[in-house]
């Protein structure tokens, strides 16, 4: 096991940030912590990166205890905090050089690891980090977190505030890093990114709702789910909420995801009901659940 978390709890005054969290991450696994803002993701990362003590429970990273062996952990993990935390007034190259030096290594020594990423920002290596675009900053931060060839990489919301193209590129980079046997723990509030992980933990209000592969989590969704659309989205949602057999309704792009209380769902009946509410262009079709649906169901 690369990361073992056992019954970790942490409170800030009267806020319970983490409650009895347990999970394991295998070597070389890309593990996602998925949850909304304030779910406790950053607190968990800070505990695992030895920046914060847990109130209860134990955790090990690469076999080292986060409390007693923190020195070894600091040598062998890479950490990318949620906020861009490099020196804005140093250049791209100087930042990288700085982190290489304090880890007692050189850029040349581990260049092959960061090469794929670094070549993209190398044309700007003399530019100050503060003057880079959001996506470039992200790439630089990843390079700095990788420069000492860590065994485990902690990425706290690495794609928050990054454009969709850069986000996609970033996840491709993570997939490539995984090939090099680096364990990656990544947190994100974006459900679409969850599907790219090997396994995910859904977390809310400091509690883990479920841990499994994205495919399995989706399969766990208990009910058939329907895409419903009509000419007036707002009215449609209000009408569905007033429907006597409703189980759940969430807007989902151009559709509404609807589930029914009954075991036997009757589409014709629903259509008639909606028509009675003066809605037109009504379409009802069965669809597959997404991670977001599962999350909403679990978080209910």
């Amino acid at each position: 096991m690369s990361i073992c978390v056992a019954n970790i709890s942490k409170s800030y005054k009267n806020v319970k940030a983490l409650q009895d969290i347990s999970f394991n991450v295998k070597v070389g696994e890309l593990f996602g912590i998925i949850g909304p803002d304030g779910a406790g993701k950053t607190t968990l990362f800070r505990i695992l990166t030895t920046l914060l003590f847990a109130d209860n429970g134990r955790a090990t990273v690469s076999g080292w205890d986060v409390v007693s062996d923190y020195k070894n952990i600091r040598k062998s993990v890479g950490y990318m905090p949620g906020r861009f935390s490099l020196y804005q007034d140093l250049t791209v190259e100087e930042n990288l050089q700085f982190f290489a030096t304090i880890f007692g290594t050189t850029i040349e020594e581990n260049y092959d690891l960061i090469k794929d990423i670094y070549v993209q920002i190398e044309p700007f290596k003399d530019r100050r980090a503060g003057k880079l675009s959001g996506g470039m900053k992200q790439k630089l931060a990843l390079c700095c977190a990788l420069i000492h060839k860590p065994k485990v990489l902690f990425l706290d919301e690495p794609t928050t505030g990054v454009d969709p193209v850069s986000r996609k590129e970033f996840w491709e980079m993570l997939k490539r890093l995984q090939q090099k046997n680096i364990t990656i723990l990544v947190s994100t509030p974006y459900m679409d990114e969850a599907a790219l992980c090997d396994r995910i933990a859904l977390i809310q209000d400091g509690k883990i709702l479920e841990i499994d592969t994205p495919e399995a989590i989706v399969k766990h969704y208990p009910k058939p789910i329907y895409n419903v659309s009509a000419n007036n989205m707002y009215k449609l949602i209000n009408s569905l909420n007033a429907y006597q057999y409703i189980h759940s309704v969430y807007p989902f792009g151009e559709f509404v995801h609807y589930t029914d209380k009954r075991a036997e769902f009757n589409a014709v009946e629903l259509k008639l009901y909606l028509e009675s509410k003066n809605l037109s262009n009504i379409r009802i079709e069965k669809t597959v659940a997404t991670i977001e649906d599962t999350f909403m169901e679990l978080a209910k």
Binding site: R74, V77, P81, S85, L86, Y87, E94, G104
Partner: protein
């Protein structure tokens, strides 16, 4: 070991790069102190000059004119106005046009000859108490000297022989013979500048890493706190020593302040002293989250340190409890040492008490700072 040194050196290098890239920082470090030294040393003098002097001469005799002439001859007084009445004179003082009024009564010369005694009216604007006190001393000196001459001129020889023997004091101002205030102030202001700049910079520096989040990233690296702190603070130690050098050169070139004592001794003391300031800066930065807070707290200490340093008000005239507090004021020791070494030529043994207290202070302060730095981990 080699690796440790390499890391520290790299942090120092990085720190210098950042300082020199900060366009706002450079003028603060080098231009501001120089300007302050030049301006403050010229302005912050205790001498009272160009006193606006007015008089009412109701006597109009050669004696009264001679007295006014004495004031005119003095470099301290600018004789401005001859008022015709007391009412006019008072109105003028109310407007702030005169600082000192001399009222020479009618029959001044006649009565003096007759009674061998007379009185003069002196009115001083005492809004500034310190200046008024000095003005009084100047006036008394001039009148006394005038008195002596007058006795000789107006009295008979027999009278003089009966006169009691005068005791005259001749003050000698050692180590600053001409009582030149610049000689006295320049070392003091130099001390303030070195302290202020190093305290503010070091106090704000580590907080800056907190603010921009790099400290969090640094904490998840194998770097040791001590390496990091040394690497971060050493540049400010160098800047402090650099400021001392610039200040000493200015003191010599612009103000021609005598430098009797040994320069290496000054540098030795300063090198220990800056450690105290850096320790205080680090200590402050451990308890705050933003540079703004660090700045305010640094200012708070700075103001107390300056006002209780003996630079502007003598420590001897402070109440007992305040004197006890000054024992914990590092600036006090620095001011003492700089003045002792520069003006008096004190040697190592003379400044040993101050040096050892400062060294102890540096040790305690840095110990506290490092301890609290670890605690906030």
């Amino acid at each position: 070991m080699g690796n440790v040194m390499k890391t520290i050196l790299y942090i120092i290098q990085k720190e210098f790069k950042q300082i020199f890239r900060n366009k706002g920082m450079l003028p603060i470090i080098f231009v501001m102190p120089i300007l302050q030294l030049v301006i403050l040393s010229n302005a912050a003098t205790f001498e009272v000059k160009n006193i606006k002097f007015g008089f009412i001469d109701k006597d109009h005799t050669s004696t009264s004119r001679a007295l006014v002439e004495k004031f005119n001859a003095s470099t301290y007084f600018d004789v401005l106005t001859d008022f015709s009445s007391e009412a006019l004179a008072s109105a003028s003082m109310l407007k702030g046009e005169v600082d000192v009024l001399l009222n020479i009564p009618q029959y001044f010369e006649r009565d003096f000859q007759k009674d061998k005694y007379n009185t003069l009216g002196v009115t001083i604007n005492a809004i500034d108490g310190a200046a008024a006190g000095l003005e009084n001393v100047y006036i008394t000196q001039i009148v006394q000297r005038f008195n002596q001459n007058l006795k000789v001129d107006l009295m008979q020889i027999t009278d003089q022989q009966v006169q009691a023997i005068n005791i005259e004091t001749i003050p000698l101002f050692w180590y600053n013979e001409t009582l030149n205030y610049k000689t006295f102030m320049v070392p003091g202001i130099l001390v303030l500048l070195v302290t202020m700049i190093t305290l503010f910079l070091s106090g704000m520096n580590i907080v800056r890493e907190k603010e921009i989040g790099t400290l969090e990233q640094i904490n998840v690296t194998p770097i040791k706190k001590s390496q990091f702190i040394i690497g971060k603070l050493f540049p400010f130690w160098v800047i402090g020593m650099g400021l001392l050098t610039v200040g000493l050169i200015l003191a010599k070139v612009i103000f021609n302040v005598p430098m009797i004592g040994s320069l290496p001794l000054m540098y030795l003391y300063t090198s220990v002293y800056i450690l105290v300031v850096l320790g205080i800066g680090l200590f402050i930065s451990n308890f705050v989250d933003t540079q703004q807070q660090a700045m305010f707290i640094s200012w708070f200490f700075m103001v107390i340190f300056i006002l209780m340093s003996g630079l502007f008000t003598p420590i001897e005239s402070m109440p007992k409890w305040a004197q006890t507090i000054t024992e914990f004021n590092p600036i006090k020791y620095f001011v003492e040492v700089m003045r002792m070494v520069m003006l008096k030529g004190s040697r190592f043994n003379d400044i040993l008490p101050q040096l050892s207290k400062t060294a102890l202070y540096a040790f305690v302060m840095n110990g506290l700072a490092v301890w609290s730095y670890k605690k906030t981990d």
